[in-house]
């Protein structure tokens, strides 16, 4: 049938023979797209007497919102925290590659770095829409340097900072060089002077996340009251849960969260950063807040070996990434330990065992999360799309297949193995 346009001349695409993720279930419905947005077919039929210009047969597959990764440090040899001649090109390169993992929007993440790096990199990484060129950049996630020394993880110690006495975001503006294009900041709330920082960042629309911290539950709850709404990679780089002071982990069930607000928490579901039993405890305690993140580093997508992350050197074996030690031995003594069926072996002689970001991809994380938690497919998919969108306050536009939302989609089979990725209704990757 010829195109019809009483409201718009743009062509209308109808995805047929699919199951769409809507209202927290998989429904046997068609999905209609026009002008890069999801269209209400009933209004189209009755108000415009319109119909589809073309139909795409999805072969019975699942059609879900594209994944949103709010913690991605790099990949395929690109490290966002290592300044290069063209940081923008590095981000663009990774943005294109992650389409293969179903990620349609992401927050390029910078780990603790000296001010010179921020001043060089930040102006080059701009918020922009996705498309055939790659996933959309929602804004930068600044993980550090205002974090705890004891919980620095793989972050370089010499660049950690405190807030100083003046209060407000001035120390941040000095270090980062500005907050344009910044969508999230991870900080340790126990650092003196953090309250005014959290408050002001929240007022500026920057999501404040708690992480790399030794805060107790009270300090964490204070920060939430000031506006913090996220926990960076729950369980990792924070005090472990203790029954008399649950620490940051206690936010999942805290009764001092302001009404109408929710605390979200990032989970690296690669099977390594968190034991599946711990993952299940968190999920069961607060399922609506779980946000899957990859925390992937530049080695993601690369073969095993040594690579640079920020100002450090790390080493990868299988799906593990470790901080390399200072000394190199020519012939390490292998000590074979098998953690699970995907890992080949672990060498203790060479480096440390401090985890250093992951190299799992987002779709792997979604599958592993579903399998480890036993949750339903819709729940697993929402943890990678709806929840991050809600965290960033963009769920009216992203992370959902409601009418009017951007048509960023992933097509997958029942095992959640990806078949195709779409941004604004246009196919940007196919298996």
């Amino acid at each position: 049938m010829p195109s019809n346009g009483s409201v718009s001349d743009a062509p209308i695409t109808q995805f047929i023979n699919c199951r769409i993720l809507k209202e927290h279930t998989l429904q046997r419905e068609d999905l209609w797209v026009r002008d890069g947005r999801i269209l209400d077919p009933e209004k189209l039929f009755f108000d415009e007497q319109g119909y589809a210009d073309r139909q795409l047969d999805c072969g019975g597959a699942i059609l879900a919102p594209g994944f949103i990764d709010v913690q991605l440090n790099g990949g395929y040899g690109v490290d966002f925290s290592t300044p290069s001649e063209d940081p923008g090109a590095g981000v663009a390169f990774v943005a294109k590659k992650i389409l293969e993992h179903g990620v349609t929007s992401f927050c390029p993440t910078l780990v603790t770095s000296p001010p010179s790096v921020y001043h060089k990199v930040l102006p080059e990484v701009k918020v922009q829409s996705g498309g055939v060129h790659g996933a959309g950049v929602l804004g930068v996630h600044l993980e550090g340097p205002f974090i705890s020394l004891e919980k620095k993880g793989a972050h370089p110690e010499q660049f950690l900072r405190t807030f100083g006495g003046s209060g407000g975001v001035n120390p941040l503006l000095e270090v980062y060089g500005g907050l344009d294009n910044v969508s999230m900041v991870t900080l340790a709330p126990e650092l003196a002077g953090s309250q005014s920082v959290v408050e002001e960042l929240s007022q500026r629309g920057v999501t404040v996340s708690l992480g790399h911290s030794v805060a107790n539950l009270s300090q964490a709850e204070e920060a939430v009251q000031q506006g913090a709404s996220f926990i960076t990679h729950l369980f990792n780089a924070m005090l472990p849960f203790h029954h008399r002071d649950p620490g940051i982990v206690g936010l999942l069930t805290s009764n001092r969260i302001p009404a109408g607000r929710s605390v979200f928490y990032g989970m690296i579901a690669d099977g390594i950063h968190t034991n599946p039993a711990a993952l299940r405890i968190a999920h069961r305690a607060h399922p609506a807040g779980l946000v899957l993140v990859t925390d992937a580093i530049m080695a993601m997508g690369l073969p095993p070996g040594r690579h640079t992350l920020g100002q450090q050197v790390i080493e990868i074996q299988g799906l593990h990434a470790y901080v390399a030690g200072n000394t190199l031995t020519s012939s390490p003594v292998p000590n074979q330990l098998t953690f699970d069926s995907r890992i080949l072996n672990v060498f203790w002689g060479l480096g440390t065992t401090t985890l250093s970001g992951s190299i799992a991809t987002m779709d792997m994380c979604v599958r592993h999360f579903q399998q480890a938690s036993g949750c339903s497919v819709p729940e697993a998919l929402e943890a990678a799309s709806l929840h991050p969108a809600q965290l960033l306050g963009i769920s009216h536009q992203k992370g959902s297949l409601e009418y009017g939302c951007d048509a960023d989609l992933v097509l997958m089979d029942d095992q959640m193995v990806l078949e195709a990725t779409y941004i604004s209704g246009v196919e940007v990757w196919r298996k």
Binding site: M1, D30, L44, F45, F46, E48, Q49, G50, Y51
Partner: protein, 243 residues
């Protein structure tokens, strides 16, 4: 009339669907000559349970009909009388209704032609009877105050003008209405009874809907099922041999 009795709701629905399919195929519609299907319409638009939503979700989204060929009375129109007049004209322009498919209310009404409606009425605004409001409450969360009290409806006369009428009736709560419609006289208190005077009416029902009928009536029509079932055989040839 024909009275086709199937065992349950699903079988009755399937029989009715196959019959409609066969009628459309044997009609051999073309781009110049459309098959016009009539359905009862009513409630105001901007509600998820409006007939627009109901028709979209239960019919239109499953078929590839051109939206321009779907005519639904608009309960939100400015001038409701004009809306009704235009609807009657649209039917005439389309060459009349070939097959009207409807149900029956517990009070025996066809479309929203409540008891007391003229048997020669046309498309118009009707105030709904209490029975109808109660029956429709299930679409509005069982909150009677939310059910619309007025509806636009095709008239009894409008439906009588169709070349063929099919009434689908299922459930024990409709049994008395069916009895009144086919075993009692023509009466404007049970408007479906008007179809006793239509040359081609077919009632499709399940066992439960026959509970108030005479055993003799039911036995007679059940005995005709071998004839009725021929009407729903897959149409392999295009011969129009329905009588």
């Amino acid at each position: 009339m024909r009275l086709v009795i199937l065992e349950d709701y699903d079988l009755a629905s399937e029989w009715a669907a196959k019959y409609i399919r066969n009628r459309i195929i044997t009609f051999r519609p073309t781009a110049q000559r459309y098959f016009t299907l009539g359905l009862p319409t009513g409630l105001p638009r901007a509600h998820p349970e409006s007939y627009h939503s109901y028709m979209w979700n239960n019919f239109f989204k499953h078929v590839d009909i051109d939206p321009a060929n779907a005519h639904i009375l608009d309960g939100n129109a400015q001038d409701l009388e004009a809306e009704c007049a235009v609807f009657e004209k649209d039917i005439a322009d389309a060459g009349g209704i070939d097959l009207f498919v409807g149900g029956i209310g517990p009070d025996g009404h066809i479309a929203f032609n409540e008891p007391g409606s003229s048997l020669v009425s046309r498309t118009r605004v009707k105030t709904l009877a209490k029975d109808t409001i109660v029956a429709n409450a299930r679409f509005f969360g069982h909150d009677l105050s939310k059910v619309p009290t007025m509806a636009l409806t095709v008239g009894v006369g409008t439906v009588m003008d169709s070349r063929e009428v099919m009434i689908v009736i299922t459930g024990a709560h409709k049994a008395f209405a069916l009895y009144k419609a086919i075993e009692d006289g023509v009466n404007h208190m049970w408007t479906v009874s008007a179809f006793q005077q239509h040359p081609r009416t077919i009632f499709v029902c399940d066992e439960d809907a026959t509970l108030e009928l005479r055993v003799k009536t039911v036995k007679y029509f059940k005995g005709l099922m071998h004839v009725h079932n021929k009407l729903v055989d897959p149409v392999l040839t295009m011969k129009n041999d329905l009588s």
